[in-house]
């Protein structure tokens, strides 16, 4: 699991981010570079491993 340092959103690979075209089962490492936090909009570099 990876958590957004800014807003606390947790990316759960089991759920993915279907609202933004990320299929369930997608690993955090496999998210596209332009993916950003669906809650607050910051990019992947702002996420930390839990």
């Amino acid at each position: 699991m990876y958590e957004c340092n800014v807003c606390g959103y947790v990316y759960d690979p089991e759920n993915g981010d279907p609202d933004n075209g990320i299929e369930a089962g997608t690993k955090f490492e496999d998210l596209p570079d332009d993916w950003c936090c669906p809650l607050c909009g910051v990019d992947k570099s702002e996420f930390s491993k839990q």
Binding site: G8, L39, C40, G41
Partner: protein, 392 residues
Amino acid sequence: MRPLKIAEGIYDVGVKDWNIRDFHGYSTSNGTTYNAFLIVDEKVVLIDTVKKGFGDELLKNISAVIDPKKIDFVVSNHAEMDHSGCLPQIMHVIGQEKPVYCSKMGEKNLKSHFQRQLNYQVVPNGSSMSIGKRTLNFMETRMLHWPDSMFTYIPEDKILFSSDAFGQHYAGHENFDDETGTSILGHAKKYYANILLLYAPKVKALIESVVAAGLDIKTICPDHGIIWRKDPGAIITKYMEWSDQAPTKKAVVLYDTMWNSTEKMAEAITSGLNAAGVEAIPMHVRKWHRSDIMTEIMDARAVIVGSPTLNNGLYPTLCDVLTYVKGLKPMNKIGASFGSYGWSGEAVKLLNAELTAMGMELINDGLKMQYVPDTDQLKTCFEFGKSIAEKI
């Protein structure tokens, strides 16, 4: 008149900031209020504080109800400084060791605001706490509109303390929606357009979840403006409507001008839109505040932007407004550009790029005219407006 009684034992002890006209770049023509709520039960609770500088007035309002030292704890629904600014002062008065209940992100954000270590206690999302006859239910509302934002709900009184959601920058003699009538909706709309629009999909999802949870709401107490007690459903319905950003038959023509040529184009384009039955007015960006322009853009279908070419670039005031609009992420818009130029004429191309970057669909390549538009060229502008109207 403060303190303002909202229900038995529940008061608004916040303050009215009558004369503020610039709220971090948002024009507040009627000032604003910083609402803070005192609940007197077996426990005495203060929900949020006020902007720094208004602490003495807050304490005076609390003292008219109860000795502030009797406050058992503070709930911070939102860490932004217009609501947390007096937190250190209040804690100093009521007792430094008393708890400040807040969300997980609230603790993090409050710690980043104040050097003084306070007794922060995180309340998990969905948790409850009895304060005697009443219960406080806490709901995280992240990004509505900060990561720390939270609602507090009292089921016994059916009152929702909604932090910045459902607020309005408005300080008047009225305190409730039944006193202002529907005129307050214009202020609520401006607030939504300028503070919440970029989170519209989340606002909608959150409201749907609140409705699905069957929360019975009799009164909504936001942290700014009047309290919704006559018809709280009306503002909830409006929030759903604004979140959808369903376009109306409306266009916004915004522009700046150096020697009135782009202005002449703007007025002729507006006439064309109006002639085709589209609601539009030309908005000179140095005469209209960016926050008022944003309010108009929210429910418009077309955004038509005009700039002279200055030093091979855009007129700088347009960059101000477009940066602001872009950040608020308006959706479902079509766009077009126009402008007068002297010799190079880059502005229209640059405006097209800005509109495209905002996700707006360009209606055409834009319209640029050298120096002063003549009668025939103004007819072209009129037709340009009409052709845009056909796409709306």
